[in-house]
Subunit: 148 residues, 2 copies
DNA sequence: TTGAAATATGATAAATGTTGTATTATTTGT
DNA sequence: ACAAATAATACAACATTTATCATATTTCAA
């Protein structure tokens, strides 16, 4: 139960895009190099991000990608689910076969789904824009600390 | 990001054991049949549960397995982690390479780990014993509903 | 002490999923 | 028309999950 590498790459790419001047088109190769992401793999990921309305792509000379929505309106959950599919539990944990035609029904399932919503809540609480700022502050602090 | 089948099987098996009379030794084959779990696969899972101090195993004639601790003292997290290993995030999501020697440090990582602890909190809140009772009530209600 | 009943251990196979590459379109600006 | 960029797929390598099986080892009891 963990984030895939593809999910990590997607977040890295989106944060990079969130930190660019508005309307700048960035080439996938640039994102790949900056983020240490295998370029061909990133292309597949970018495709999913585009299909999920998270980025805009432009082909041809002068093309590239950029955020579709403002960074303040995109959450980690948006990014993760675009790449990994909806976070959800599929099977009932108690009964293998159906019961009254409802497979999604046992108490374990309930607990699991509560646990999951707590997680989702947290992944939705902060926007990419806020994360970019938070990171800059963190790294600034660190540089300051080191230079003492 | 989801529970493995092995994790589901483990929970099913533990709930079944939690619902048995104290000190009854149950054979793995019985658990497998009741829970619709491939028997040989379940044997591997049982091994992990035993190594993580969740069940007691007894070999030979009259052997079988039973809970080591009371069902009221075992949580879903105990079971899941016994089978799937510790729930934890390994990589920093923003920087591929290290920064100041601390890989576990970016804001995304922070959010992620908060999200995860919320989830863990929930998976720890209820014991197997409580789940068994909750399930019985649920199914009783359902039968009642259907017979109308 | 022998035999049958049960789990322990570990090897291995099959299926699936993740990660990555490559190839061939297709679109776009000049 | 050409070059530059993404789109769309197919595919390969690798890892993980999901099993299965064979061979110990332990245990009880006749």
């Amino acid at each position: 139960m963990r984030l895939t590498l593809a999910g990590e790459y997607a977040i890295r790419a989106m944060l990079f895009l969130a930190d660019q001047p508005t309307d700048r088109r960035v080439q996938i190769s640039e994102i790949a190099e900056t983020g240490s992401i295998p370029e061909n793999f990133l292309r597949n990921i970018v495709l999913k991000l585009a299909k999920n309305q998270l980025i805009q792509t432009h082909r041809g000379a002068g093309g590239g990608v950029k955020l579709l929505r403002p960074a303040s309106e995109v959450t980690l959950l948006d990014v993760i689910e675009a790449v990994e599919g909806k976070l959800s539990l599929n099977h009932c944990l108690v009964q293998a076969q159906e019961f009254c035609g409802r497979t999604e029904w046992c108490s374990v399932h309930l607990i699991w789904s509560v646990a999951q919503s707590k997680m989702i809540e947290e992944l939705t609480a902060t926007s990419l824009a806020e994360l970019v700022i938070a990171n800059k502050q963190r790294f600034a602090e660190t540089v300051c600390y080191r230079s003492k």
